[in-house]
Symmetry: C2
């Protein structure tokens, strides 16, 4: 299976969300190749990537080491501010409650994700932490960008895992 596929050259130049999600997918592929659940994230500020990370739970032996959490810490260092105003976080899978909560805490402006997570998703699927009128900050959410490729990576990973057991 050609997981990364061919970059759509037309969309590369015309659609920033597709372009940045390609970068998040590259991070997810790194996680896949390292035996981590393949999720990747990048954070963009003023059209520039200021953070890129992939899931490192197994390598760091730390359940908090999701791609989004690592990227948020990187972005805060880059901007020298824990308030990540005017940033967009791209992640290949809908964030879990931990990661969506972290984005709200960090005042991320916009979240773009690939495939929805019907088991743990906290940007609308199971909880709505990301854009909730009860909280002091709401994030604009767009889902389904490069959804098929994001899903294929996860399916490929879990298929391999099942074959090992």
């Amino acid at each position: 299976m050609d997981i990364m596929g061919q970059t759509d050259i037309a969309s590369f130049f015309t659609n920033p969300d597709d372009r940045f999600m390609e970068e998040a997918l590259k991070e997810a592929l790194k996680a896949h190749d390292l035996g981590e659940v393949p999720v990747g994230a990048v954070i963009v500020h003023e059209g520039r990537i200021i953070a890129r990370a992939h899931n490192q739970v197994e390598m760091l032996n730390d359940a908090t080491a999701h791609a989004e959490i690592i990227a948020l810490t990187q972005a805060s260092a880059a901007l020298e501010n824990w308030r990540l105003i005017d940033t967009t976080l791209y992640v290949t899978k809908e964030p879990c409650p931990m990661c969506a909560g972290a984005m709200v805490n960090a005042r991320v402006s916009r979240l773009v994700y690939g495939v929805a997570d019907t088991k743990y998703g906290a940007a609308g699927s199971v909880f709505d932490v990301a854009d909730n009128p009860c909280l002091n900050h709401r994030i604009a959410v767009v889902g389904g960008v490069k959804e098929d490729r994001s899903r294929e990576l996860l399916q490929s990973f879990f298929m391999k895992l099942r074959n090992k057991i």
Copy 2:
């Protein structure tokens, strides 16, 4: 105001939850004295504290640096395992969605908190992330332990902050 108060010697010997919450309160006091929102946490495994941390958002300039997240990372290092089976996390304030989500991800067994957080709490107040039948792990939750002292620390901090502005 005597924020830390006198340790109740009788309860010190009789009630582990009170005793460990005293340790979390010591961490919260450190945060208070450093100008951080005063929240402290400890994690206990087999009757022993394996992690202790306080909120460090301002010092580390990182919105993910809540007491609980730092303590979870420490505990994973101590046990050399991201699955924190048979652990209890004590925290002076009800955790936010990020922290409650992180505890679920880390398979923390039990959560004991001090004061409820009616604005952001994710162990029952606004969301129920900690003990939710939709998720793959549920945490046994006890609230209200050393509640008054936990609240007093927060009130003292925000009163000082308002007087500064």
